[in-house]
Amino acid sequence: MFLWQYLTPVLLVILQTCKARKCATFTDLNFGHAFFGTTLKIRLLLYTRESIDCGTLMSHTNLSAHPHFNLSNPTTFIIHGYRPTGSPPIWVKKLTQLLLHRKDMNVILVDWNHGAANLNYLKSVENTKKAAANLTAFIKNMEEHGASLSSIHMIGVSLGAHISGFVGTNLNGTIGRITALDPAGPQFKGNPPNERLDPTDAQFVDVLHTDIDALGFREPLGHIDFYANGGTDQPGCPKTIFSGGAYFKCDHQRSVLLYIESVNRTCSSTAYPCSSYKDFLDGDCVSCDQFGAAGCPVFGYDVVRWKDILVRLGQTKAYFSTTAKTPFCMTNYLLDVMVWNKDERSGYITAKLHYNGTEAVASINHKASKFREYTETKMLAQVGKNIQSVEKMSLKFSNGNTCSPKYKLRVLRIRLTNLEHEQRPLCRYDLLLKDNEEVTFRPIPCEESNF
């Protein structure tokens, strides 16, 4: 009895602290829920710098109930997509944390797992409009409490991208920015602009496409549309169905991983405006003259720096390539080859760059290049490493035929230009590339050229 007198207050204190510490987490559903279908229920989880790891479940109406929610700070909404298994998305925590590290803001994670978890995709699509109506009401409420709509950024993944678009339509495109990560294609392809995401939905709409041939959307939807690796098959993703579920979602999910890397500033991927990925790989789109001093846009969170020019240009399609795993960025080089062979030669060039005792293989779009006398042949060489200075270089020429004359490529000059960093191009003159024989040499800084 004596003991209880002391224990009770202690227990009460512990209970209270636990209650206060209890964090709201993302709804965890299972396959059973998805199988029987779920009805829409939207939970808004607030994260701020004061509570980076601990979400607060927000009231849709009473904003003043959350002292952390500072309406003078910008607010970023994260909206996930279709959840066929009902599990929480693995990337939300990381993205939330990185965003908060970047800037002091309110991150609101829109948890509509009840509604997105449904084996019947069409039901989830139906729910997007309702979810958008709900979010619109919430944002209007925020505006009434003094928030500025132009400081609102919505990051939508897949179906979430279209939800952002609908919210934008409802608010007449007054919100600051919408970032769409591989916006969903099925049920949205061919829709009129108000039935999908479009550039009028926000002051600035940036879109990343990673799976345009399956779950994503092929056509451009924003002011700038980035197509990673052409927007189709992402490197490192399984090519056959034998790899299980990853076969379906890997390309689609890559969009989030690439974006997270850009928020984290792991490295930067410069994107090149171009009419097609093929032209980009052919080295036809290496200049960004239309962007003036700003240069080519860099994919990701910081593309907002190009906002004014991009909005003025209307719609821009930009391409970049990535590696198979993090860090995903690649450095682009332009390789110019001029030969003095009298007859035209065609074949493949393989290039390696040596630096600091290691070497990096430059991937060159593997279609046979044509080499004509005294004509420059351009090739885009992409390297998965950031090389400070190229010490040596290896080149190999192969004409691709097993039983044909061993043609030689008589190179007058090769020039390697780093497209991303202002560095003096590297040159080498007078090379004889025998079929399938690697030649290693030390490139020298180029001098002014007159041909």
């Binding site: 001029m338 003095w340 062979n341 009298k342 007859d343 005294y374 039983c403 044909s404 004359p405 061993k406 030689k408 008589r410 007058l412 000059r413 040159c427 080498r428 003159y429 007078d430 090379l431 004889l432 040499f441 030390r442 020298i444 001098e447 050229s449 007159n450 041909f451």
Partner: protein
């Protein structure tokens, strides 16, 4: 003639006894047709028609067997028809393969041929470079070292795939305060003068071939380097 061969085939084809009966029927009927110009119903055929269902499979078999028999015919010695077919296929393939390989092996690289007797005009490149080490300069003043330097330059251009065929000579003609003057002479065939002057024998190529040679030497770090790449001038 045909029938004789078929019969010979039959004799060989001991394995095909179960269908021999129908085989012969077929032979007989065609023989009849051939001889008389019209079909003569034979007793055996009537039987085979009665068992139409049964004969269906043997007839198919018989076609197969006939092909097998045909293939097994001896043309001469122990060589059979199927061997001839396979061998002729192999021969055709070998001929194609060998001819392609021979063509590629005897392929003459037109660009390696060069006719020095063509009328040519001389093209000169003058310039200078700085010697990096003073002590070398002392030894260089001897005519022997001058010849060495001259040889190094000539070797460089003679081993160049693009320039060797046009290269004539290299001369070293003066030292002034550690600076060496040189002159390179190339002979350009009149026919392609303009293009050659613009590209292959442009100052850019001739100069940079020298320049990259100096950078390569620097890389060697064997102490051989005595020309500073930055000091290289060519007009």
């Amino acid at each position: 003639m045909d029938i004789e061969l078929q019969a010979a085939g039959n004799r060989d084809g001991v394995n095909y006894r179960p269908v021999e009966e129908t085989e012969r029927d077929w032979l007989v009927s065609t023989q009849n047709a051939g001889n008389n110009g019209e079909m003569m119903p034979s007793g055996n055929e009537a039987v085979s028609q009665k068992n139409l269902q049964n004969t269906h499979i043997p007839q198919e078999n018989s076609t197969l067997c006939r092909i097998k028999r045909d293939l097994n015919e001896v043309v001469f010695w122990k060589v059979k028809v199927w061997m001839i077919i396979i061998i002729s296929f192999l021969v055709i393939l070998a001929v194609i393969f060998i001819s392609v390989c021979v063509c590629s092996a005897v392929h003459e690289d037109e660009e390696e041929k060069f006719d020095p007797s063509l009328p040519a005009v001389a093209q000169y490149f003058n310039g200078s470079f700085q010697l990096a080490f003073e002590q070398k300069l002392v030894t260089l003043s001897s005519s022997e070292s001058q010849a060495d330097l001259q040889k190094t330059l000539a070797d460089l251009y003679r081993s160049s795939p693009a320039l060797a065929q046009y290269f004539s000579k290299a001369e070293i003609y003066g030292f002034r305060n550690g600076s060496v003057d040189y002159r390179l002479t190339f002979l350009i065939p009149e026919a392609h003068q303009d293009q050659l002057r613009k590209f292959t024998l442009s100052r850019e190529v001739v100069y940079n071939v020298f320049r990259q040679f100096l950078y390569d030497q620097e890389q060697d770090k064997s102490g051989q380097m005595y020309i500073d790449p930055v000091s290289l001038i060519m007009i």
